[in-house]
């Protein structure tokens, strides 16, 4: 009986312990990453940094927790095979810069948002979703983080803001691009976006 109790608890502990804590710790890890990136944008110690320096710092914080390549590769989808190795690396780097630029400039001039993580839901054998609410400029937005267990550990593969999936949006754009364009055109377009700041520039469609 003693053996039964002891081994049962040990087995249950071994069985569910790492599983529960692995999922639970994902929430803490995500919250830590969000706080760290917001600190870069809003804390007094980083106030003197230029926009580019802030983007680099944010990238540093992000990459210390997650592999950004995962989300970008997922957004590129099967189009990845349409590029050679050099182009693949260049596209990864340019999209990374574009996403960081959009993130940092999108929060510029606004009060620090408050982000609260809520429910964690298992949506597949190796996938979880973490719900969150973001209060920005007195408005509440619902954001969902999707994570998958990859060879490199749990990674964010999609962010869904107000029902709009970022990965789906970029997948659609890149699919559309490769119907007529090439990898070289894509690289040129991404480079153009990184130097562009104004809405008044011509819309290339």
């Amino acid at each position: 009986m003693k053996f039964f109790s002891y081994s049962t608890f040990l087995v249950l502990g071994l069985l569910f312990g790492p599983y529960v804590s692995a999922h639970g710790s994902q929430k803490e890890k995500l919250q830590g990453m969000i706080d760290a990136t917001l600190d870069v944008i809003y804390s007094e110690t980083h106030a003197s940094l230029s926009a580019n320096e802030k983007q680099s710092k944010v990238r540093e914080k992000l990459e210390s927790s997650y592999d950004l390549d995962v989300m970008i590769r997922y957004a590129i989808g099967k189009n990845w095979r349409r590029m050679n190795k050099v182009e693949q690396l260049e596209v990864l780097e340019l999209v990374k810069k574009l996403v960081l630029k959009a993130y940092v400039t999108g929060l510029e001039g606004k009060d620090r948002p408050s982000i609260t993580l809520a429910e964690l839901t298992e949506i597949g054998k190796a996938r979880i979703e973490i719900e969150s609410t973001m209060v920005l400029d007195a408005k509440t937005y619902y954001i969902l983080y999707r994570l998958r267990q990859m060879d490199s550990g749990w990674q964010i593969y999609d962010i869904v803001a107000e029902n709009v999936s970022v990965s789906s949006n970029y997948r659609g754009q890149i699919d559309d691009h490769f119907r007529k364009g090439s990898a070289a055109d894509l690289i040129a377009r991404l480079k153009g976006l990184l130097v562009k700041d104004d809405i008044n520039e011509d819309t290339k469609i």
């Binding site: 053996f3 069985l15 790492p18 599983y19 997922y74 999707r146 999609d158 789906s168 949006n169 659609g172």
Partner: protein, 253 residues
């Protein structure tokens, strides 16, 4: 002796533990590897029926031109002149005026709780909130803001399909169902035609009201549009995808 007795069960338990953890780890991982995952379909479908793409793209460029050269300078002037509380108050005022649309849309979907919340908010904001300029209802329990409903969503909830994607001149992204919903919104709005409750509602006044409403709503829309355009490989495709995902989500909620 005691130690020996203990060692046996511990060894077994450890073995079972290791085996179960190994099995669990194998179960937890998807059957597909990373490479297959990258090429798997995205969770939200990107498929949008767009048979008029060439016309839509042309209208998109036209709208972009109008937006950049007419609407944006007006909105820039408005945001420069009007302090933030005035901008917010104007936006609140016009949102409050659209209460009949939200009420009808909730009722048509049998969302009685939504209709109740909208009615309570309208009553509180129109009185305590000085004709809807302020939103004191936010602080009343049970009357926190809820997601806005419109007639296009009603049609979606009734099972009517989206139809083809459309880009409407001056109005922007839509689809056949939402275009019908747009006319439905006007029909249930007592301040707008064709069933306006105001008898001598001259077109000049209607135009002034609509124009002011659009300018009051534009700063937020322009910010989002600029952000979308600044980070899009193909702004037309990005807007079509965002609009469709957003509307599908709104209907599903």
């Amino acid at each position: 002796m005691k130690t020996q007795k203990f060692k046996g069960p511990l060894a077994w338990a450890s073995l079972i533990g290791v085996l179960t953890v190994t099995t669990l780890t194998a179960q937890v991982r998807d059957l597909t590897g990373d490479e297959e995952f990258y090429t798997s379909p995205v969770d939200e479908s990107t498929n949008v029926y767009d048979p008029f793409e060439s016309v839509n793209r042309f209208t998109f460029v036209f709208n972009d031109f109008v937006f950049s050269n007419t609407v944006q300078p007006l909105v820039d002037a408005y945001t420069a002149i009007a302090p933030d509380p005035v901008e917010e108050g104007a936006s609140n005022f016009f949102h409050n005026l659209r209460y009949p649309v939200r009420l009808a849309s909730n009722l048509l979907q049998f969302r009685f709780k939504g209709a109740w919340v909208e009615t309570g908010r309208f009553a509180i904001n129109s009185t305590v909130g000085i004709v809807g300029i302020l939103t004191p209802a936010d602080d009343y329990e049970g009357f926190a803001p809820i997601k806005s409903e419109d007639v296009g969503q009603v049609f979606g909830a009734w099972g009517i399909g989206e139809g083809p994607y459309l880009v409407l001149p001056f109005l922007g992204p839509s689809n056949l169902r939402d275009l019908a919903g747009f006319f439905g919104d006007r029909a249930v709005n007592p301040l707008k035609g064709p069933f306006s409750v105001i008898d001598d509602w001259k077109w000049e006044w209607q135009l002034a009201l609509s124009g002011t409403e659009n300018i009051a709503r534009s700063p937020q829309i322009i910010k989002r549009y600029k952000q979308l355009k600044g980070s899009s490989i193909d702004p037309y495709s990005s807007l079509r995808n965002s609009y469709s995902q957003y509307r599908r989500g709104a209907v599903a909620e």
